[in-house]
Symmetry: C2
DNA sequence: GCTGCCATTCCACTATGCGGAACGCAAGCC
DNA sequence: GGCTTGCGTTCCGCATAGTGGAATGGCAGC
C-alpha cells in the first residue's frame, strides 16, 4: 500500500516542455514530501513518497542539505527541515500577515460556536490547512495544520472554487484536482458555490458529496491584496454538534460576518471575495 | 549600485561537485529573492537579485509558475508568491509550533520592557528575523520580519554561536559568514558568547563590534526538539532606552527567565540551550 | 555469519539545461 | 509617426549536468 503517494508525474503536460526545469521540480517535490506530523524522513521514505529513484533522491537531499533547506542532525540520520526552509517559510508567512488581526477574532469564533475554525489555501490539486483555532474547552483533536482536503468535496474547497476568477479557475483545473464522488464537473460546483455565496455569504457541501460522513463544515472565502488567489475560513465539527440547520441559522452567518469584519479591517476594499461576474 | 545583491555563488566549494544539483539551487535562490516587503518581482528584478542570466530566470520562473510556487496575476505581470509556496511555508511553520505558547509571553515582555522582542533563526550566513513583538504603546517601527542580521555582530547571532554544538558551528562556518568589524574570529566570539551565557544566561555584543551604533540588544538562545539548530530570542531598542546597565540589571534577566519558562513549558528537558561542553 | 535495509558511489549515456543573441512588444519621448 | 528604452520570451547549438540501474559499503538484528 502506498498511503501517501505523491506520485507527481511532474511535468503533466505543460506543453511548453523545453522551458520546464525538471531538476527543480523534483527538488521541490522532495521538500514537499515533509509533512507537519512526521519529523525526520530517510532518503528511502522520501523516494517512496515522491516516486523518485533512490539515487536521485540522494543527490537532491545532498544539495538541499548543502543549502540548509534540510539538515541531518548527525550523519546518516534522517533529514529534517533546516533553517533555510524555516527562513523561506517566513516569506510565505509574511504574505499571511493579515492573520495577525484574525487571530483573536477566529479564536473567539471557535469558542462561541464550539467548532474548529480553519484557515485554508489551495495547494495544487488540494486544499491545505494553514491554521486552526480550537475551541478552548472541548472537542476532538481533529484536523492538523498541513492536512489536505479534496477541493471538490470539502466546503473549504467549494468556497475557493466559488470565489475564483475565470483565470484562477482555469489554472486550478490544470492541476487536475480529484473529481467529487458523484462526478459533478468542477465547473458546475463552482457555479453552485458562487450561488450559495451570493445568496447567503457562505458555502456548504451539497448532500451526498461529503467526503467525510460525520463531519460538517461551512466556509467563507477571503481575499488579501498580498495574495494571488482566494483563501478560505471554515468552521467544522462533528455532525451532531453542527447539524445543517445550525449552520444555516447560526454558525454560517457568524463566520460570514467575522470574515467580513476582517476583510474591512484589513482594508481590501471591503469587496466580498466572490463578487464580480463568473468571467471576471 | 546593487543594494540587495544576493550573489550567491551557489556551489561555494562543496567539493562533492558531482552530486550538487545546480538547477535546484538556482531555482531555490529565485524563491529566496522574494522578501517580505516587496510584493511582486519582475523577471528582471529577480535576475538582478540572484545574479542569474535573464533567460535562465525566465525558465525557472516558468517552472515555478507551473508548480504554483509563483503566480502571475495576469500574464506578463510581476510574479508573486503562490499558493504552493504558502503551503510549503506551513511545514516550516509547524516546526515553529512552540511559538504559540510563546506568543503571549513575548508580547508581555515587549510591553513590560518597552523593547522590541525578536525571534530569529540562522539562515545561511545571516540571522533571519522570523517574528517580532512590538510594545503596545510606543516606538519606532524598526525591524521587519524577514530582515537579516550579521551573525558576528548582532546579539542574536552571538547567542546562536554560543549555543551551537561543535558540528553545528562547523556547518555554520562553511557558509562563510561575514567576519565582525574588528576581525575577531568567529570561534573566539563563540567562546565569548558561551561564557556570557554560562555566567549570566544572556548575551550582548561586546563594545565596538556593534553593527548599528545606536541600537542595543540582548539575546538568549533556545532549543526545540523539532528544530535542528538553536534559535534565539532577543530584546532590542534604541540606546537611550536600553543602556548597558539596564540590560544587565533588568532586561537581560527578564528575557532569560521568560525563555527559560518557555523552555520548561515546551518541555525540551529544561536544559539550557548552551549547556554541555563546547565540543559536544 | 547471514540477511534485510538503507545510503552512497560508480559510470556510460543522453536528455537537459545553458546563455548569448535575436525577436517582439509596449511605453515614453522628441 | 518613428526612434529609443526596457522587459520578457524564444531560438538554437553545445557541453555537461543530471540520470538511474547496478554495484558497494555500513548497520542492526531475529
Amino acid at each position: 500500500m502506498t498511503p501517501d503517494l505523491q506520485t507527481d508525474d511532474l511535468r503533466p503536460d505543460y506543453e511548453d516542455d523545453r522551458n520546464f526545469a525538471t531538476t527543480l521540480a523534483r527538488g521541490l517535490s522532495v521538500l514537499r514530501a515533509f509533512r507537519a506530523g512526521d519529523d525526520g524522513l530517510t532518503n528511502a521514505q522520501i523516494a517512496e513518497r515522491t516516486g523518485l529513484p533512490k539515487s536521485t533522491v540522494s543527490r537532491l537531499t545532498f544539495t538541499l542539505g548543502c543549502l540548509g533547506y534540510l539538515t541531518q542532525p548527525q550523519r546518516n540520520d534522517r533529514y529534517r527541515p533546516g533553517p533555510t526552509l524555516l527562513a523561506m517559510g517566513h516569506v510565505a508567512a509574511a504574505s499571511l500577515a493579515f492573520l495577525d488581526p484574525a487571530q483573536d477574532m477566529m479564536q473567539a469564533l471557535a469558542d462561541q460556536t464550539g467548532t474548529l475554525v480553519l484557515f485554508a489555501v489551495r495547494d495544487r490539486d488540494k486544499v491545505a490547512l494553514m491554521r486552526t483555532w480550537r475551541p478552548q474547552r472541548a472537542a476532538s483533536i481533529w484536523l492538523e495544520v498541513g492536512h489536505r482536503l479534496p477541493i471538490g468535496s470539502s466546503s473549504s474547497g467549494l468556497a475557493l472554487l466559488g470565489a475564483s476568477t475565470r483565470d484562477e479557475f482555469a489554472a486550478l483545473l490544470a492541476e487536475g484536482p480529484e473529481a467529487p464522488l458523484d462526478g459533478t464537473p468542477l465547473a458546475d460546483l463552482r457555479m453552485q458555490a458562487r450561488n450559495q455565496l451570493i445568496a447567503q455569504g457562505f458555502a456548504v457541501v451539497p448532500q451526498g458529496l461529503r467526503y467525510s460522513t460525520n463531519i460538517s463544515a461551512v466556509s467563507v472565502p477571503f481575499r488579501s491584496a498580498r495574495l494571488a488567489g482566494p483563501v478560505a475560513f471554515s468552521c467544522g465539527a462533528l455532525d451532531d454538534v453542527l447539524p445543517a440547520d445550525r449552520i444555516q441559522a447560526q454558525v454560517g452567518p457568524m463566520l460570514r460576518d467575522t470574515v467580513a469584519r476582517l476583510q474591512r479591517l484589513v482594508g481590501t476594499d471591503g469587496i466580498p471575495a466572490w463578487s464580480g461576474s463568473p468571467n471576471d
